[in-house]
Amino acid sequence: MRLADAEVVDTFAEAFPMWGARIVITAESAGWAGEAARSVTGFATSVIGCKCEAGVERVLDPAETPDGRPGVSVLLFAPDRDGLAKRLVERVGQSVLTCPTTACFSGLEGEETVDVGGQLRYFGDGYQASKVLDGRRYWRVPVMEGEFLVQERFAVAEGVAGGNIIMLGRDSASALRAAEAAAAAMRTVREVILPFPGGIARSGSKVGSRYSGLMASTNDVLCPTLRAQVANSAVPPDVGSVFEIVIDGLTLEAVTEAMARGLHAAARSGASQVTAGNYGGNLGPHHIALKDLVPGPGED
């Protein structure tokens, strides 16, 4: 089927459950909140190599944050609840606790929680103190700058990972332009993140490798330079470059909405073809068909 100037392949993205948490970082200035957010979401592009996937959800107005200071909302995903708890402790401990003027809060509510501040408090070496307000416990950890405030327990929820669209273009510039437009459109959706650099991955992968012990390797069927070598290449003759955007979200609805907005933006920004990655339907329970997204976000 066609959408604007692009052909939309009749396929689907295969998404699967992943545990997620929302981290709200506040600071004296939006700049320092942003620094902490960039650090805490660094090296978190894929669970394959980073054990988690993370990204900035959005910048928060002071009126939206627990302490009334400028803030940033970050989403972090990991394959299981315990793994998520470990990543939260590591990343909040190394990237937020260390960052000037910051405080850190759970941005989700719910019964399912993991201990974050309760672990980080030990950095206080016995001088830490807790406060309970409105049923939530916070830890005050003395640091050289002053004091780091962190919520004890962070709510976690089963989210959705692996939403994706793949954009093919005539050359690298046009494909990247389409991907950039898609990423920008997707960022307008709440409850999702795009974990790759700038939201865009140039190195989509397939499961496994000819080398033992390697979990993933290059997605050869979509590498334009291998079109003449790979028997089942999916790269059309007029395509010179391919990019992928991966979407993780707190809900399937948010991931689907982000895909829809990205698909339409890419199709109107130079993509010659838009497709999606899946594993033949064998991996994830959520199949998001591109044809269902063509009517457009919010349209029937």
């Binding site: 302490d67 009334g68 309970v132 005050r140 002053g146």
Partner: protein, 273 residues
């Protein structure tokens, strides 16, 4: 809403433990009227003093000149109790949940031994609010007490957990031997605050004369305090931007004990700078 209207002020204190919304939620009028109260040392019934009207439910309203009525709302666990006017001693003592609103003033020992819930006093409070029951070391163990007027001496004595905030002036020896928890005095703090405190926080918005066993640590902006002050403002207490954004001198004490407690005093000069 069930309403109990006091017919006339009792000649001696009337003790009314059990007159709580959770306890009366399923009672018929005749059952409420037959509940026991103590008029001095004489056993009496609710119906001897109160006119009962309205429907039972999660809300209870008590009306009249209740200054000699003690233990109103004591031990309540849920629901909402409104006291239309002044209330006597031990109001809300041992509360575990729900919300108790006193539209006037309360006597001494309000909220002693509280473990949860919220006690709101729209007028002033007497001495020993949020303190310990007689014979106990620890005072309030949870919940919140908000006083919109002034409060007497020994606010939060033995406080172990929870929040006490007073919009007006707090009397002497607030936080005596407190173990933890938070006391916020928005309108001034009397002499010797925090005497013998082990842990916990006392927050003052105006200069305070401290015991010599407190030592100045630093002046900074405590991140947790922003949460607390915004919480209090949202609940209608008169918290200013200067107080939320301000710097506070942190005094550690009491040196006669662990010195793990703190008294935070708003540094008005820095706040205005």
């Amino acid at each position: 809403m069930l309403t109990l209207a006091l017919r006339e002020q009792p000649t001696v204190p009337l003790e009314t433990e059990g007159l709580t919304p959770d306890h009366l939620a399923t009672c018929r009028h005749d059952e409420v009227e037959s509940l026991t109260v103590w008029h001095g040392n004489r056993r009496a019934q609710v119906g001897d003093f109160f006119a009962v009207s309205g429907d039972s439910g999660e809300e209870l309203r008590v009306e009249g000149d209740l200054r000699r009525v003690k233990f109103l709302g004591a031990g309540m666990t849920a629901g909402r109790l409104t006291i239309a006017g002044d209330a006597g001693m031990h109001t809300g003592a041992g509360m575990r949940g729900g919300e108790l609103v006193v539209e006037g003033a309360v006597g001494d020992f309000a909220g002693v031994g509280m473990r949860g819930g919220r006690l709101i006093v729209e007028g002033s409070a007497g001495h020993h609010i949020g303190g310990a029951r007689q014979g106990e070391r620890a005072g309030m163990r949870g919940g919140e007490i908000f006083v919109h007027g002034d409060a007497g001496d020994q606010v939060g004595a033995g406080l172990r957990r929870g929040l006490i905030a007073v919009a007006g002036r707090v009397g002497d020896v607030a936080g005596l031997r407190m173990l933890a928890g938070t006391i916020v005095a928005l309108g001034g703090l009397g002499a010797r605050p925090g005497a013998g405190m082990r842990r916990g926080s006392i927050v003052a918005m105006s200069p305070v004369t401290l015991l010599p066993t407190f030592a100045l640590a630093s002046t900074y902006r405590p991140p947790f305090l922003r949460l607390y002050l915004r919480h209090l403002r949202a609940l209608g207490l008169p918290v200013t931007d200067e107080q939320i954004d301000g710097s506070y001198a942190r005094w550690s004490g009491d040196g006669v004990d662990l010195r793990r407690g703190e008294i935070l005093i708003l540094d008005s000069e820095r706040a205005l700078a």
